[in-house]
Symmetry: C2
Subunit: 573 residues, 2 copies
């Protein structure tokens, strides 16, 4: 895509957002991006004209630079990062709550570590230039680096590992849908041999805890089991070698009607129409644990070893999820297939109501085991679909987290590498794993409009130290230093003799709740003035509450205690 194409696309996006009366924050972001692109084009045009000798003297520069971030990437400024850090804190706190410990791997891997893991999406891998050394590529997800680490080290006996960081896909970026080339994922994985479905229930409970704590609104965790799906396909008469491709067709049922999916199965993939119809009967089922009764009363299905094992797994899982009190968030959905080949058991994805199309209702929180209405996300363009993680291209469609059980991936790594070390091969080969991957950019996109509407602070400074009259610069510095030494986030205006209103304005920009004002005479008596600053919403905008209150006189040496015992402090800190 040329810069001109990008500008055209963004102009269209900006106009459409305005016509739709979209969220002001979204419109503002689109406008800003458009401005940046146009500015970049201005520079480019100047460059072109310079080539033709067509440039005015003053415009000539040898080192003219296009000031923009690379295609498909963006900067996150202070207000946006304040929101992102809030999200990260909630996610990481939950990871620690569930006993996870952190792993950090390099942002790039040896290319052969990534090769053959992502099917036809391998073309999206960002390669580094071979500058005389190894062939390297940016990581595509966190799962493959984790599996490499587990195969190399055995994981040091650690069962629960989390990773939060950016991953890279050289996809065609579509800014209007938030499809980025650099995006952040937060992964939590449990590796090792445990008793059936216990780690699985832990992961589902973790995902539910995070979604609750993020306060994203109602959500549903759709789940299914690969063995049940495979059993259904076998029982319906799908040939062994067509199971994966038919599974991929089923995966499209959330965006295509059955008649289209059937057509793909029969016309494109050569499946017998009667077999397809039998599959159609099965995959329409969705609901809660009562679906197990329907399946277990199906003697033909129960006669299939895979299906029976999968159904038993799900029965056990539902028992556990009841103990974890998350049953009301679950939709057992036989049409959920997920694209990636290496799943071997439970699979799931989370959909938030706020991110679903109009008409979608998340699981009713009051009904523990009531069938959940099937979310019907609107049609979306098809991606390669060989992708385990949250597909960031799906923004505006639904899934904000996804994952499943992959019991053989670490073993595949170990057997491909450790040919000389039979023992490590054996131990790594028996490293079953289950994990979840949370799309942090997707969550940011959902939370940001609310967040910016609440005022858009970019820091949580608590005290702004000011001075009247003569500036009292060193006295301000001393007080700032003393408050910071007590752990109180404090700032002041880096000017020698600033006017008082200028200092108030600087503190108000970040909604700092306490203004501490120094005055020469007061200070000699050991006193400072503290004014509480309050903000409230009026007509949807946040405004400072003006007050005739002259502030409290507080002894300087009692200031810390005074601040920490105030009501405002307790509300903010």
């Amino acid at each position: 895509m040329t810069l001109a194409d990008e500008i055209a696309e963004h102009t269209a996006l900006f106009n459409s957002l305005r016509l739709q009366n979209a969220d002001p924050a979204e419109i503002e972001a689109a406008k800003r991006k458009l401005g940046e692109l146009k500015k970049a084009q201005g520079v480019l045009n100047a460059k072109e004209r310079e080539k033709k000798g067509d440039l005015a003297e003053g415009e000539k520069k040898k080192d003219r630079i296009l000031l923009k971030t690379p295609k498909g990437t963006r900067d996150y400024g202070p207000s946006e990062m304040f929101c992102r850090l809030h999200i990260e804190r909630i996610v990481k706190d939950a990871f620690a709550l569930f006993g996870g410990s952190c792993l950090d791997t390099p942002v790039f891997e040896r290319k052969d570590v990534l090769t053959g893991k992502y099917g036809e999406d391998s073309k999206l891998i960002f390669d580094l230039m071979d500058q005389g050394g190894e062939q390297l590529a940016l990581r595509y997800d966190h799962t493959v680096p984790l599996a490499r680490w587990l195969a190399m080290t055995g994981g040091g006996g650690q069962g629960k590992v989390w990773q939060v960081g950016k991953v890279y896909r050289r996809d065609q970026p579509v800014m209007s849908k938030g499809r980025m080339r650099e995006f952040m994922q937060a992964d939590f994985d449990i590796s090792g041999t445990f008793d059936p479905m216990i780690p699985d229930a832990e992961i589902v409970s973790l995902l539910s805890t995070i979604l609750n704590n993020l306060d994203l609104g109602e959500y549903t965790i759709k789940m299914n089991h690969r063995k049940i799906l495979d059993g259904i396909f076998t029982v319906c008469g799908v040939p062994e070698d067509k199971i994966r491709t038919i599974s991929s067709a089923v995966d499209k049922l959330d965006k295509l009607p059955w008649v289209e999916v059937k057509k793909e199965m029969t016309d494109e993939k050569g499946l017998d129409p009667t077999v397809a119809d039998k599959i159609g009967e099965y995959v329409k089922h969705k609901g809660g644990p009562e679906l197990l009764d329907i399946l277990t009363s199906d003697a033909t299905l129960m006669a299939n070893k895979n299906a029976k094992e999968g159904i038993e797994d799900m029965a056990l899982l539902f028992t556990f999820l009841k103990a974890y009190k998350v049953l009301d968030k679950i939709s057992f959905d036989l049409s959920l297939a997920r694209g990636l080949d290496y799943y071997t058991g439970l699979i799931y994805e989370a959909i938030v109501e706020g991110s679903a199309p109009p008409g979608f209702k998340a699981a009713d929180a009051s009904a523990d085991s009531t069938p959940v209405p099937k979310p019907k996300p609107k049609s979306k363009p098809k991606d390669a679909g060989e992708d385990e993680e949250v597909d960031e291209s799906q923004i505006g469609v639904g899934s904000i987290a996804a994952g499943g059980r992959y019991d053989n991936l670490v073993g595949q790594f170990a057997s491909a590498a450790a040919s000389e070390s039979k023992s490590s091969k054996k131990s790594a080969a028996s490293t079953p794993c289950i994990g979840v991957s949370i799309g942090m950019d997707r969550i940011f996109a959902l939370l940001w409009p609310k967040w910016v509407g609440l005022g858009g602070r970019c820091k949580d400074t608590m005290v702004y130290v000011m001075a009247a009259g003569d500036g009292l610069l060193e006295e301000r510095m001393e007080l700032v230093r003393d408050l910071r030494a007590e752990g109180i986030k404090t700032d002041f205006l880096a000017k020698k003799k600033p006017k008082l209103p200028v200092q108030f304005a600087a503190g108000e920009k970040d909604e700092v709740p306490f203004a501490v004002i120094l005055g020469g005479d007061e200070l000699k008596e050991g006193l400072v003035t503290v004014k509480e600053q309050r903000w409230e919403f009026r007509d949807g905008a946040k405004v400072k509450v003006e007050s005739a209150d002259k502030g409290a006189k507080v002894r300087r040496d009692e200031l810390v205690a005074w601040l920490k015992s105030s009501d405002v402090w307790k509300t903010w800190a």
Copy 2:
């Protein structure tokens, strides 16, 4: 460097650490790395033999993979990350304490943004492969992306911005010195026009706060001023066009004796020996604010505009640093020059005693303005030296943080780009900046031996829920869920009916302080048993304190309150 070379180097390192009776953690790390390399070599050998058709049948694999991280990179496992997260928390808390807000830029930039910023070190930039699009490269530091962002956006009026993340330099890695190709830096910068030396004093106070809070031992912040240096050079008779190269020679005084530096000035750089001797007289000065008296009484020097301005800046800075109570950490050192061209004012670097060679003494904390003994780090290999940030190759030598004032960099970006937008050019051109860059890997290397010696926990789980006898799996899950809902980090063994000693062992591995034991009969009465777990050091090793204590019977519905009011909780949480 071939794999065989790497193995030879690591074998030498491992043997030398053992001979030196080095820290066990360091020896263990060296041993592990050596093991990984040898394992990788085994695989490589198998590959070679396979090429020659020399491989046993069972060893043949089509997709054989070298299981290692790329050259100059490493994984950080759970115990190491627990230490790193502790460091990050301290640094980020201080950034917030000082009113900073966060910026996040992409990990790669358009190549032309980085071009011409790093002198001859530009060859160390990691380029991405041109896969039909922009020329991209991994970021080399945080300063250039920040300057790009400031030139693009003006910074949204934000004066204080911090960034924590990895940067990349395709240097020849030397593992034994900790020189890595991927390493983490934490930057804090203040941009904008303020009154003289106030932001400078803020940055020095911030750096001091961080080093205090990290508890790294005694440290010194060496500082100097570019204008004083330039003034000295001019006054001594250095020609204008030789000032930067003579400055680079002076920068080597911390690793070379004066006679060598003088030789470089005269023999290599063609400076008149009498001029060099005059410089030698100046740059031997170091100490506290009293050095100002020596300089201000030097009429020749004070007649130089640059020198006079620099000396006035330093006088003002010392006044402020006294208010900030950090004067005792400062060494005003006229031999500090720092390599990077774009510094325009104050420059500084921090040296920790633990990282300095034997014999070095940090500033005496009791002497506010006593001359500080000059640290004499041992000779180190010369790098290109055109590097603003902490040079990670210097591990084992000293500097763990560095920075300075760069008032023209943002303006250079703006004028190179915004040729068509005169107004933004003007505003960005007047964006003076000062910043500090903290070498997180260096700090990790200093703290890790202590940290791992304290037990090497990798998570801070507080409660381990267990069951006697029948397993009580769902009851354990319910209690785990309830405790987590109260924010208590809780875990349990993911087995159906694990034996009690196995559960204790699992909890003890992470030094979990509370064991909560469920028993069928007790639970019917609404009771659980809580046993506090304690560890202590014996002969330098951490061991669990065995206790005959049978534990306390606590009502299940009062468990949260009981836990949170216990002494152990207050110690740990």
